[in-house]
């Protein structure tokens, strides 16, 4: 009789085992903590121990920073004078647009400013133009950066420049587009009088170095000269000197980081000698479109002004802000660590810091409050346990079926004896580790 194996796989059991181990090796996924999702992990959870210190820390850091910011902002002296209506003669007030559009009227107007506090050099002069939507879509796109960068591309204006792309004779306008066309053209000249009755002295307004250093020569090419600018019948804004390149070649210096941390001084060229004349820097400043409909920038004065000094500003009021009821103002400001006078950051820091602090305090109170049980009598004279009871329940690991015996001293102490479902007295350990302990006591109100 032939030998019979009971198992189907019997006859080659030995080789099967070998094969199995081989295939096991092949099939078995390689162990790696990454593929097994077993990488060492840190699992912080939002516990009071973490959240309260964090909040407190944030408050602690933010309040001083905020105060410092406020101080920095307060150190900046700023004089703002709105002149858009003041500079219109009384008889023209009812029709300001007609006034501004009438080229025959002399638009010079002089205003007197009083310096409130000492102003240290450099003093920056800004114009402030409100309700002017430089960020309007029709406006922002109406320019050709290519044309500004490369003289050869002068005629390669894209359709973006429309409707200010070509002059009447069909030749291209450089710089083209609405942005350049509407260049701001009010001008200011300053004179100050030292002390009471002192002599009047003109202040030089330096208009070089007010644009971004990186713009000069890069964004605005060195050999690009204005062509056909403001030639059309409809004159928008200021004129440009056709003999000057859009960017000054003498100022061609690769941008590099200035060690100064002030935004304004980074923006300004460090050349204080005033050798450099402005080479269409007004245009460069203008063409860095502002994101908000309130913006400014004009030039700077390298002089110190004392408190109480009077400053005469001769304004050439050329720019038409009247048709859109935009305000115009001239601003003198010193520069601080964080730029111009802007209390927002400081205030926001203080508010945030205080809020964090208060929140931390509140949470701490809540944490403490957890252990206070509210007890009150209702109208029928029954005793009720209310707020805090739930926490008490969980804190003491009470389970359904536990027996509690309470003793109330009538004032503010409620003592519990807890018996578990197995009728054993449960003793709580207040110290946290050792055995033995006492009954929970609760203060109530």
């Amino acid at each position: 009789m032939s030998q019979v194996n009971s198992g189907a796989a019997g006859p080659s059991a030995g080789s099967d085992v070998a094969a199995a181990t081989a295939s096991t090796k092949r099939n078995k996924p390689q162990y790696h903590a990454f593929t097994q999702q077993q990488l060492p992990a840190c699992k912080p959870i939002l516990s009071p121990h973490m959240v309260i210190p964090v909040l407190a820390f944030v408050g602690l850091v933010f309040i001083p920073i905020g105060l410092a910011c406020i101080a920095a902002s307060n150190k900046v002296v700023e004089v703002v004078y709105r002149y858009d209506t003041k500079c219109v003669p009384g008889n023209m007030l009812h029709n300001k647009v007609a006034y501004i559009q009438n080229a025959s009227i002399d638009k010079t107007c002089t205003i007197v400013l009083k310096v409130p506090r000492d102003m240290k050099r450099p003093i920056f002069i800004y114009y402030q133009l409100e309700k002017f939507y430089q960020n309007h879509r029709r406006y922002t796109t109406s320019r050709s950066d290519m044309q500004l960068r490369d003289p050869k591309q002068a005629s390669a204006i894209t359709e973006f420049c429309k409707p200010e792309a070509y002059a009447a004779n069909g030749s291209p306008i450089v710089p083209c587009g609405l942005v350049a066309w509407s260049l701001f053209n009010d001008t200011y000249s300053f004179a100050h009088r030292r002390g009471r009755g002192g002599h009047t002295e003109a202040l030089t307004v330096i208009k070089s170095g007010i644009s971004w250093r990186s713009d000069r020569g890069h964004v605005f090419g060195n050999h690009v000269f204005p062509k056909n600018f403001q030639n059309s019948s409809l004159v928008g804004g200021g004129q440009l000197d056709p003999t000057k390149p859009v960017s000054s070649s003498a100022n061609f210096r690769a941008f590099f980081l200035l060690p100064s941390s002030s935004s304004v001084s980074t923006m300004m060229d460090g050349d204080c000698g005033g050798v450099q004349l402005s080479e269409q820097e007004d245009l460069m400043v203008w063409m860095r479109t502002a994101a908000l409909p309130r913006f400014r920038l004009y030039g700077r004065v390298e002089a110190d002004l004392g408190a109480g000094e009077l400053l005469a500003v001769e304004v050439r009021n050329n720019y038409n802000s009247y048709s859109f009821a935009g305000k115009k103002a001239v601003v003198l400001s010193t520069s601080g660590l964080l730029g111009g006078r802007n209390a927002f950051l400081g205030r926001a820091y203080v508010v945030t810091g205080v809020a964090c602090f208060v929140l931390a305090l509140q949470l701490t109170l809540l944490c403490l409050d957890d252990f206070i049980l509210k007890i009150y009598y209702d109208k029928a004279g029954d005793l009720w346990l209310s707020r805090g009871w739930k926490t008490f329940f969980h804190e003491h690991h009470l389970n359904a079926g536990d027996l509690l015996i309470c003793t109330f001293d009538g004032h503010d102490l409620l003592t519990f004896k807890v018996f578990s479902i197995s009728h054993c007295r449960v003793l709580y350990d207040t110290s946290g580790v050792a055995e033995g302990g006492e009954d929970p006591q609760v203060s109530g109100a």
Binding site: M1, S2, Q3, G7, A8, N27, K28, P29, Q30, F34, T35, Q36, Q37, P40, A41, K43, P44, I45, V51, V54, L55, V58, C69, Q128, Y133, H136, R137, Y139, D145, R149, L178, S182, W212, S214, H218, V219, S261, S263, R288, T289, A291, L292, R294, F295, R296, S323, F324, A325, L337, L338, G339, G340, N342, F344, L345, A348, Y349, T352, L359, H394
Partner: protein, 1086 residues
């Protein structure tokens, strides 16, 4: 061409239309003639992009529309690159993935197509490429060849006309299958084979690999013009291998995509997870919101233009615009707001999903050492559904049990063996009976050894091993051989057995095959010595008992069956009948006719078989044990605790099923549970018991464990008459046992649960579970002993049932949590940037100016924000052990708590708040002389990036080094990229970042944005954690505590109680918890 193969159309009728001979064949074959043999997979490249488009079609069209609108320069706020870029990247990524797959497919197809095959073509035997085989060619194969197309076998090297094939590639079954040549082809010499002419009538190509109802006629002079039936056992199917036969030859009947394997390879419909459909709904909601915003802003913009804009002389508004002028501003806003729907969400989610799938593939703890099979996810897209499963429908045999059959007990002529020691093979009584040649016992053993389809394989050293399709048969034959009744040899026509050393020979006349309807099989043999004809039967008790001979007392047998099934054993009833020669001859003719019929063959055969299987003398009952798999009871308990309803669907008897159910914790014993049986003799009875069960189910107290039992015929009636109340019952009941189920019914049950909105998971191991697996939302296959069929059809395959808990509770839950975060975060970050744009539009005259430049916008969506969010795929809220310890937590993801309209509203609010914080702080800090557009936009953008990093950090539960590296590395990368960009003079951002980094006010502003943005979020989250902790919070607390103070009294149990309380709440409010925000939110919250 020598043999014409005709495919008769579905009606199978027209023998008359079948054209004769080889010349007619060419006309007949036109339908399939010119097709090149190509693998079905060749077509996939064309199909896959379709699929890709299907699921994301709407979204893609949307993005394409946006991209096209951006080409219109009047309205585009940013350069078209912002949409075209990401769109191109997305398409390149998916297309290159597809292309890589296609290339690999192409290579393998090419290899298959260019294989050289010996073919007789035009009477000449030569080698051709596999793709050149045409229908009607005679194909010559050698041992171990892969079969290139579906063939009808006409000759083999074996004189009996037998050959063996391995069908593992087709159905996953590893045993060898016998294939036999049709009777009319017997006696043909190899020379004749090349020249024969004839017609094969075969049905249209289908994918049924178990059926081939065809006919064959050979023309004179070879043989007489007789019709010969063909069955699946006469075929060699594509992608099987020829084994143990020197050569075989056959006629090609189906080639290319029409082969059985080609037809069954059809692509499954892509499954959409419930999380995905939730995301789709949220997308639609955001789209509606976007339209509203666009309309409102567009209107406002037009009003502003007319009231203010025309007064701004520097804008030079022309007095008369083109006719479409009123559309320009709304369309600009549409483009500005188009980023509300994140373009990157698809890529991000796809990537995340494939990582989840990789984690499953690599999981060390789901590796089955016994069979050395790792877990595998064939479908990489549906891991989230695993975490939301509500119903598990499990097969029994091979899934819950080991499918390792062991013969344990038997009952032979009223004597029970194996009762005392639980193993009949060691029962002294039985051994004695065997040695004393007790005629009843000998007959019993003979049926055990003969009545089967087992193939004995003799190895060189004389040992015999058995190859069987059915584990039960193998167990029986092995048991018989242990009791000295050895099946030693078997071929197509004869069997040799050896009992107590003496050999017996039998002629094997007919096999009356097993079908699931008949539930029995029989063979007819002729004893060589005595010339007696015998019918040997075995089958289910209810299939055999009614056919017992009228006089026989079967009560003891019935009791034995009852008893065995109470022990959870599988019973088979063995029977025997002597046949008269005349009776057999007559029957044999009918059987032949039935086997030849093309139409309704199965039924006809069943009818004929029925006529012979009567008056059976019952010999006894066998009881086979199928042990539960390792870890099944624990797994089922865990899954049920996790709030998943587990149903057992089996083809087995009710009693056996209930016993197994008790053993594996599926149902609780009588004291705590109640088993509601739905049965009855008539339709009314069944429906009445259904109603009764429903009433009991509704009124019973919650604690009680209720389950219902139902069998196949009851289900059939219920489905016909009372589907609605059955659905209600199914929703109420957490457990059910359905026995006597056919594969179709299993799939129907899945369909019922699915249609009632539940997420179903079907798990099974055999071919009979394939339909159910494909029908269910998630199909899991166990790569078990019944072959790989189920595992192939399934979305996930695992080695053992016990791995299911890890698959669902660990992988499913994590996947869901992660997808929930990633998708909502994607919306959050898109909304954030979009809200800032909208806020900015109010200060730019509602003209639709984009605050951010094109490069920043594109990079924001594609680089800066998509990397940090990917870190969430490594995040674990609570550890695996905790999840397995508190499986109830699954209810959280099951109920869709982390991704639903209300959580989304939270994210929406957060993005609005953050946008306000970023915008207002930026605008105020950078007011006046600093308000350069480029600078301001960069400050706002960096504010967003800072917030992103902190948001991801706050929402991460566990930090591992890749997470920290990615989040903060990305943060650093943002600065590096922007500093590099600011060196390029031709860009608008020239020098911007450099200037900003030098300003203290910039850094101060950033710190302010982060504090103001995150402070309230942190505080809210903290307060919620303290005063309204979710179950996850509690578990995190427990984890933390357990790590620090190992033995803190009661901590675990008390938190556990609280947790239970929370989780019970969770269960109770599963559906009613969310406040509807969207119209369909109740339905879609699941």
């Amino acid at each position: 061409m020598n043999i014409a193969v005709c495919s008769s159309e579905s009606s199978y009728e027209p023998a008359g239309e079948v054209l004769q001979g080889n010349d007619g064949a060419s006309t007949l074959l036109t339908r399939i003639k010119d097709e090149e043999w190509s693998d079905d997979r060749l077509n996939v490249p064309e199909r896959n992009p379709d699929r890709y488009f299907d699921s994301w079609r709407v979204m893609n069209q949307y993005f394409l529309l946006i991209a096209c609108l951006q080409l219109w320069s009047t309205i585009t706020p940013v350069s078209p690159a912002t949409t075209w870029g990401p769109l191109a990247i997305i398409f390149i990524v998916s297309a290159s993935k597809e292309a890589w797959d296609d290339y690999n497919r192409y290579l393998s197809d090419k290899k298959a197509n260019e294989r050289r095959i010996w073919v007789v073509k035009d009477g000449v035997r030569r080698q051709v490429k596999a793709q050149e085989i045409h229908v009607g060619n005679i194909v010559w194969l050698h041992e171990n060849d892969e079969i290139p197309c579906d063939l009808v076998l006409i000759g083999t090297s074996d004189p009996q006309g037998i050959c063996y094939v391995e069908t593992a590639a087709l159905d996953g079954e590893t045993d060898l299958k016998t294939r036999i040549i049709p009777s009319i082809c017997a006696n043909l010499s190899p020379e004749q084979l090349g020249k024969i002419k004839g017609v094969v009538e075969c049905p249209n190509p289908d994918n049924d690999i178990r059926r081939f109802d065809a006919n064959m006629r050979l023309f004179p002079p070879t043989t007489d013009n007789e019709k010969c039936p063909l069955t699946i056992s006469n075929t060699l199917l594509q992608s099987c291998y020829l084994r143990y036969s020197e050569w075989a030859c056959g006629v090609a009947v189906y080639t290319g995509n029409e082969t059985k394997s080609g037809m069954s390879r059809g692509t499954a419909e892509p499954k959409l997870t419930s999380a995905d459909s939730m995301i789709d709904k949220l997308t639609v909601a955001i789209f509606v919101f976007q339209i509203v915003v666009v309309l409102v802003l567009g209107l406002a913009g037009n009003i502003w233009k007319n009231s203010h804009g025309r007064k701004q002389w520097y804008l030079m508004y022309p007095p008369e615009g083109p006719w479409y002028e009123f559309l320009v501003i709304p369309l600009r806003f549409e483009l500005l707001c188009s980023i509300m729907i994140p373009i990157s969400i698809k890529v991000t989610l796809d990537l995340a999903k494939s990582v989840y799938a990789k984690f499953i593939d690599c999981d060390d703890q789901m590796f089955d050492w016994e069979t050395s099979t790792p877990a595998h996810s064939a479908n990489t897209a549906i891991s989230e559904d695993l975490g939301q499963v509500e119903y598990i429908l499990s097969d029994k045999t091979g899934t819950l049990t080991e499918n390792k059959m062991i013969f344990r007990r038997c009952c032979i002529s009223d004597t029970l063996y194996g009762d005392n020691n639980g193993d009949a093979l060691k029962d002294v009584g039985l051994l004695n009976a065997v040695s004393s040649n007790d005629p009843n016992v000998v007959k019993f053993l003979m049926v055990m050894a003969l009545c089967n389809t087992v193939v004995p394989i003799k190895s060189n050293d004389g040992t015999i091993s058995y190859k069987a399709q059915s584990q039960d048969e193998e167990a029986l034959v092995n048991a018989a051989s242990n009791l000295n009744m050895v099946l030693t040899n078997k071929d197509s026509s004869s069997v040799e057995i050896c009992f107590n050393g003496s050999k017996f020979y039998y002629e094997l006349l007919d096999v009356l095959e097993f079908t699931s309807d008949r539930k029995r099989m029989s063979i007819v043999v002729k004893e060589i010595g005595s010339g007696k004809f015998l019918l040997l039967s075995k089958g289910a008790d209810e299939a055999i008992f009614p056919r017992s001979c009228p006089g026989q007392e079967i009560k003891t047998y019935q009791e034995a069956v009852e008893m065995y099934s109470h022990l959870g054993l599988r019973t088979l009833c063995l029977g025997w009948r002597d046949l008269e020669e005349g009776e057999y001859k007559e029957w044999s003719k009918k059987f032949q006719d039935a086997s030849c019929s093309l139409d309704n063959r199965e039924n006809k055969i069943a009818e004929v078989c029925h006529s012979l299987e009567k008056d059976i003398h019952i010999l006894g009952i066998t009881a086979i044990e199928d042990r539960l798999q390792d870890g099944v009871p624990e797994t089922i308990k865990l899954l049920r605790n996790a709030g998943i309803s587990v149903w057992m669907l089996t083809g087995d008897k009710q009693n056996t099923a209930i016993q197994i159910g008790l053993l594996c914790n599926l149902i609780t014993p009588e004291s705590n549970g109640q088993l509601l049986s739905i049965n009855g003799k008539t339709e009314d009875d069944i429906l009445r018991s259904l109603d009764k069960a429903l009433v009991v189910m509704k009124t019973s107290p919650e604690r009680k464990d209720l389950a219902f039992v139902l069998d196949g015929c009851a289900l059939e009636i219920i489905l016909k008459h009372s589907l609605e109340s059955f659905t209600r019952l199914a929703m109420l009941s957490t457990t059910a046992i359905c026995c006597r189920m056919t594969p179709l019914q299993k799939a129907q049950l899945v369909g019922i649960l699915k249609s009632s909105g539940s997420l179903t998971l079907a798990i099974g191991d055999g071919g009979n579970d394939v339909r159910m697996i494909q029908e269910a939302n998630v199909g899991v296959g166990i790569s078990g002993r019944e072959g790989l069929q189920a595992a192939r059809a399934a979305d996930y395959s695992i080695g053992k049932f016990k791995f299911l808990k890890r698959l669902i509770l660990v992988h499913g839950r994590y996947s869901y949590n992660r997808t929930a975060f990633i998708s909502q975060y994607s919306f959050y970050k898109s909304l954030l940037i979009c809200f800032i744009q909208i806020l900015f539009s109010f200060s730019s005259g509602v003209s639709g100016t984009s605050l951010f430049n094109s490069i920043s916008l594109m990079a924001y969506n594609v680089f800066y924000t998509s990397l940090p969010v990917m870190t969430i795929i490594f995040d674990k809220d609570i550890s695996e052990t905790t999840v397995l310890q508190y499986p109830q937590i699954l209810l959280y993801s099951q109920a869709g708590r982390l991704l639903n309209p209300s959580t989304f509203a939270g994210w929406f609010g957060r993005s609005l708040y953050h946008a306000l914080a970023v915008f207002l702080i930026t605008v105020h800090a950078y007011a006046d002389e600093k308000s350069d557009m480029e600078e301001l936009s960069m400050v706002a953008l960096s504010g967003c990036i800072w917030l992103q990093a902190f948001v991801v950090t706050l929402d991460t539960n566990s930090f591992t080094y890749p997470q920290i590296i990615l989040v903060w590395g990305n943060f650093v990368a943002f600065y590096v990229i922007n500093l590099i960009l600011s060196v390029v003079p031709s860009l608008q951002m020239h020098n911007v970042m450099l200037r900003l980094c030098n300003q203290p006010s910039y850094w101060i502003t950033m710190a302010l944005i982060v504090t103001v943005g995150m402070g309230p979020v942190l505080a809210l989250r903290y307060l919620r954690k303290v005063f309204q902790p979710s179950a996850i919070d509690v578990l995190q607390q427990i984890e933390q505590t357990n790590r620090h103070i190992e033995t803190y009294r009661n901590m675990e149990s008390s938190s556990g109680t609280y947790l239970d309380h929370l989780l019970t709440d969770l269960r109770r409010n599963k559906d009613s918890i969310h406040q509807p925000l969207l119209s369909e939110s109740l339905a879609c919250s699941r």
